[in-house]
C-alpha cells in the first residue's frame, strides 16, 4: 500500500471535512458530514499505521517519519476530542492545519521502509516511550495553537478570556505525559545501557523541554493575569520541543548522540 495514496485520501477527507464544517450551521447535515469526513481521515491514518506495524513486523516508531505519522494521528484525534468535548470549534481547523503540515512533510520526505530494528530498540519500553511522547507533543502542539490564537486576538484587541484556561489544561495533561516519556526513557536506558541518565543531547533537550513547560505551569499559577506573556512562553516552549524532536541532528552535539534517527 503506497503511502502517497493514503496521504491523498486523508488530505481529501480532511479538506472536504473542513469545508463542510465551516459552511454547515449548528446541527445541520453539512456539519455532520464534515465531522464524519474528519473522523474518516483519522481512521485512515490509524488503519495505515496498523498495516505498517504488521508489514514492517516491528512497531513503526523508529524513524522520524514514523513518529510524525503518530503525531498526525494524535494531533488530529486531540483536535476532534477538543472539538467534541470542549466545544472548541476552531481547534479542529487549527489542528487540521498542523496535522496536514506534518503529513506533507512525510509526503515530501518519503520513508525508506526498513524492517530492521537494532537490538537496543527491542524492548518493552520502546512502544510506550515513543507513543507517550507523541501524545504529549500533540497536546502541547494544540496548546501552542491556542497561544497563537490568543496572541492573534490580543493583537487585534479582542478578548480571549477562555483561551488561557484551555491552554492550561492542555499543558497540564501534556506535561504529565511528557513526564511519563522522560521517565520511561530513563528506565529503558537503565535496562539497555546500565545508566538511567547520561546527558545525551536528546535527553538533555527533552529535559529542557520539560523544564520550560514546568516554568509555564508555575508562571500561570503565580501570575494568572499575565496571559499574553504566558502565551509567548508557550510559543517558545514549542520551539524548544521541535528542536528536541527534530532538531538534534542539526546541532553540533549531534555526533555524540545515540538518539539521532536512523535514515
Amino acid at each position: 500500500m503506497s503511502f502517497q495514496i493514503i496521504a491523498i485520501i486523508i488530505i481529501l477527507c480532511w479538506i472536504s471535512g473542513a469545508v463542510f464544517l465551516a459552511l454547515g450551521r449548528e446541527g445541520s447535515k453539512k456539519k455532520k458530514w464534515g465531522e464524519i469526513l474528519f473522523a474518516a481521515g483519522i481512521g485512515a491514518i490509524a488503519l495505515y499505521m496498523v498495516f505498517l506495524w504488521i508489514w514492517l513486523k516491528r512497531p513503526p516508531l523508529r524513524t522520524l517519519g514514523e513518529t510524525r505519522l503518530w503525531y498526525v494521528f494524535f494531533l488530529s484525534l486531540t483536535g476532534m476530542v477538543l472539538y467534541a468535548g470542549w466545544k472548541m470549534r476552531w481547534m479542529i481547523f487549527y489542528s487540521l492545519f498542523l496535522s496536514l503540515l506534518f503529513l506533507m512533510m512525510n509526503v515530501v520526505h518519503p520513508e525508506n521502509f526498513d524492517k530492521t530494528l537494532m537490538p537496543a530498540l527491542q524492548s518493552v519500553w520502546f512502544v510506550p516511550h515513543v507513543i507517550v511522547y507523541m501524545f504529549a507533543y500533540a497536546l502541547l502542539g494544540a496548546s501552542m495553537l491556542v497561544a497563537v490564537k490568543g496572541l492573534w486576538l490580543s493583537f487585534s484587541h479582542q478578548s480571549f478570556s477562555d483561551l488561557s484556561f484551555h491552554a492550561d489544561r492542555m499543558v497540564r495533561i501534556g506535561f504529565a505525559f511528557l513526564t511519563f516519556g522522560l521517565l520511561f526513557g530513563a528506565l529503558w536506558a537503565k535496562e539497555a545501557w546500565g545508566q538511567y541518565w547520561s546527558w545525551d543531547p536528546k535527553e538533555t533537550w527533552a529535559f529542557i523541554t520539560w523544564l520550560i513547560y514546568l516554568l509555564y505551569i508555575h508562571f500561570r499559577y503565580h501570575r494568572p493575569g499575565s496571559e499574553v506573556l504566558a502565551m509567548w512562553l508557550l510559543l517558545l516552549a514549542f520551539v524548544l520541543l521541535i528542536v528536541c524532536w527534530m532538531g538534534i541532528n542539526y546541532l553540533p552535539s549531534a555526533q555524540s548522540s545515540i538518539h539521532t534517527y536512523t535514515r
Binding site: 525508506n112 506535561f175 504529565a176 546500565g194 553540533p252
Partner: protein, 424 residues
C-alpha cells in the same frame, strides 16, 4: 500597614528581576570558581560523605523552614519567582550543555577552563543544582501540612524531583562502571573502568558461547562520483526475499538468483560455506543477461561490488545485528552456573548488573569475544523511589486537572494569600 499589605510588599520586593539577578550572579561565580580551578570540575563525594550530606539536607531544610519561615529570605526562596528564576537559569545551562559537543577540549582552552566541555560536572552546574535543591526542599516542607489530596500531588511531584536530583547527583560518586572483555573459555574476574583502572569483581565470569542473529543484507547502489550509498527503492531490496520478482531502476532490471548468508569466493563465484570468514553473497541477474555476484565483505574479505553503469555500482550491505546473546558461566566460590546475557536483558550478580555491550564486530558471527559492561549503583533504589513518586505525581496532575474555570481569578489569588497568612 497591616500584615496583608506587608505580605504583598514582600512578594513584590523579591520578584523576578531580583531572583534572576541573584541566581545568575551565583552561577557566574560558579564559572569563576571553575575557571580559577583550571577547569578541574567537581565530582560527587563517596560514601559515607554523600550520605551524610543527604541526611544533613533532610535535617537542615525542615529545621531552617520552621525556625525562619517568617524571615524574608525563606519567604523569597519558597516563592514562585525564585523557583522560576532558578528553573530558567538551570535550563539555560542545560541548553549550553546540550549544544556543545561532548568531546574534551585542550586543557588550556577557554572552553575547558570555563567548564563548558564538562558542564554537568562543573561548578556552575553544581551551584545551579544546589539552588534547585534548596528551593525545592524548602517548598516541600512548606506544603507538607495539611495532609490533603491536593498537597499529596504537590508533595509527590516536588519531593520526587528533589529525591531524583539529590540521589542522582550525590549517588554518582558511588557508581562503579567496569568493562569486561570475555574471551571464550577464559575466566575473568577483573574489569577496567573508564580511567583504565582495574576493578576487582566478587566473582569470575567465563564466556561459553557467543551467538548472533543477523538481518539479511540489502542490495543497494553506490554513487561512483560521491562514493556514497544511494537507495533508489522505497522498500528495501532485501537479499533472500522476493525471489523472481523484478526491481527496476533507470531502465535496468534486477532479479535475485541466489542468496547465501555465509559464503566464500571460489573459482569466480560464491559457494555456500558456513565457516569463519564467510560473507553474505547474492547473485543478481541484471538486464536479463548479466549474472553478477556481489558480497558484503567483512574484516577478512573486501566487499564485492559490480559496475552498473558509469554512475553507479551495485553493492550488498553488511548484515545488521538483530539479536546477540552470550552464554556466560559465573564461577563462584562453591558453585557455578550459566546464564544468558542479551541487550535489554541485564543480569544482576552480587550487586553488579551486567549488560551485553558489544562483541568483535570484525569477526561478526564468529566472534569469540563478548564485551560486558558491569555497573554497580547502590543509590539506584533511592533514584527509583524518586522516579516512582514523579510518575505518581504526573498521574495526579492529570486527575486533578480542573473541570471548570474559576469565575473570579482574583479571588483565587486572594485565597492563597489568606492561606499563607493563616499558616504563618
Amino acid at each position: 500597614m497591616n500584615s496583608r499589605q506587608q505580605l504583598y510588599q514582600g512578594k513584590q520586593l523579591f520578584g523576578y528581576r531580583y531572583s534572576f539577578l541573584i541566581f545568575f550572579l551565583i552561577i557566574l561565580a560558579g564559572f569563576g570558581i571553575e575557571y580559577a580551578g583550571g577547569g578541574r570540575g567537581i565530582t560527587a563525594p563517596l560514601f559515607p560523605f554523600n550520605a551524610i550530606i543527604v541526611v544533613e539536607l533532610l535535617l537542615f531544610l525542615p529545621l531552617a523552614y520552621y525556625l525562619y519561615r517568617h524571615r524574608k529570605l525563606v519567604q523569597w526562596l519558597t516563592s514562585i519567582p525564585a523557583a522560576n528564576a532558578s528553573i530558567a537559569l538551570y535550563a539555560m545551562l542545560l541548553l549550553i550543555g546540550g549544544t556543545i559537543p561532548a568531546e574534551p577540549y585542550p586543557s588550556s582552552s577557554f572552553i575547558h577552563r570555563a567548564g563548558l566541555d564538562h558542564l554537568f560536572h562543573s561548578w556552575p552546574y553544581f551551584l545551579s543544582s544546589l539552588q534547585l535543591i534548596i528551593i525545592l526542599g524548602l517548598t516541600v516542607v512548606k506544603r507538607i501540612f495539611p495532609f490533603t489530596f491536593r498537597n499529596l500531588g504537590f508533595f509527590l511531584n516536588h519531593f520526587g524531583l528533589w529525591m531524583v536530583i539529590v540521589s542522582a547527583s550525590l549517588g554518582a560518586g558511588d557508581m562503579q562502571k567496569a568493562v569486561c572483555y570475555l574471551y571464550e573459555n577464559h575466566p575473568v574476574s577483573m574489569g577496567v573502568d573508564q580511567r583504565m583502572n582495574p576493578v576487582q569483581l566478587p566473582f569470575s565470569l567465563m564466556l561459553k558461547k557467543f551467538s548472533i542473529e543477523e538481518y539479511h543484507p540489502e542490495i543497494i547502489l553506490i554513487d561512483r562520483q560521491k562514493a556514497t550509498a544511494y537507495i533508489p527503492w522505497r522498500h528495501p531490496f532485501v537479499a533472500g526475499e522476493e525471489k523472481d520478482s523484478v526491481r527496476e531502476f533507470r531502465g535496468h532490471r534486477f532479479v535475485q538468483l541466489q542468496y547465501y548468508p555465509y559464503a566464500l569466493y571460489k573459482d569466480s563465484l560464491y559457494v555456500a560455506c558456513d565457516t569463519f570468514g564467510a560473507v553474505a553473497a547474492v547473485c543478481l541477474l541484471i538486464d536479463g543477461h548479466r549474472k553478477e555476484w556481489i558480497s558484503s565483505g567483512n574484516a577478512l574479505h573486501p566487499p564485492r561490488m559490480c559496475v552498473l553503469d558509469s554512475n553507479y555500482f551495485v553493492a550488498l550491505t553488511v548484515p545488521k545485528a538483530k539479536k546477540y546473546t552470550s552464554v556466560i558461566t559465573c564461577l563462584g566460590k562453591n558453585k557455578s552456573y550459566d546464564f544468558l546475557l542479551q541487550v535489554n536483558k541485564p543480569v544482576t550478580i552480587r550487586g553488579w548488573t551486567l549488560y551485553q555491550s558489544g562483541y568483535d564486530e570484525q569477526k561478526g558471527k564468529w566472534s569469540d569475544l563478548s564485551i560486558i559492561e558491569l555497573i554497580r549503583d547502590p543509590w539506584l533504589p533511592v533514584v527509583y523511589a524518586g522516579i516512582i513518586m514523579l510518575l505518581a505525581g504526573a498521574v495526579m496532575l492529570i486527575l486533578l486537572t480542573p473541570r471548570s474555570r474559576d469565575k473570579n481569578v482574583s479571588s483565587r489569588v486572594q485565597g492563597q494569600c489568606d492561606e499563607q497568612l493563616n499558616q504563618s
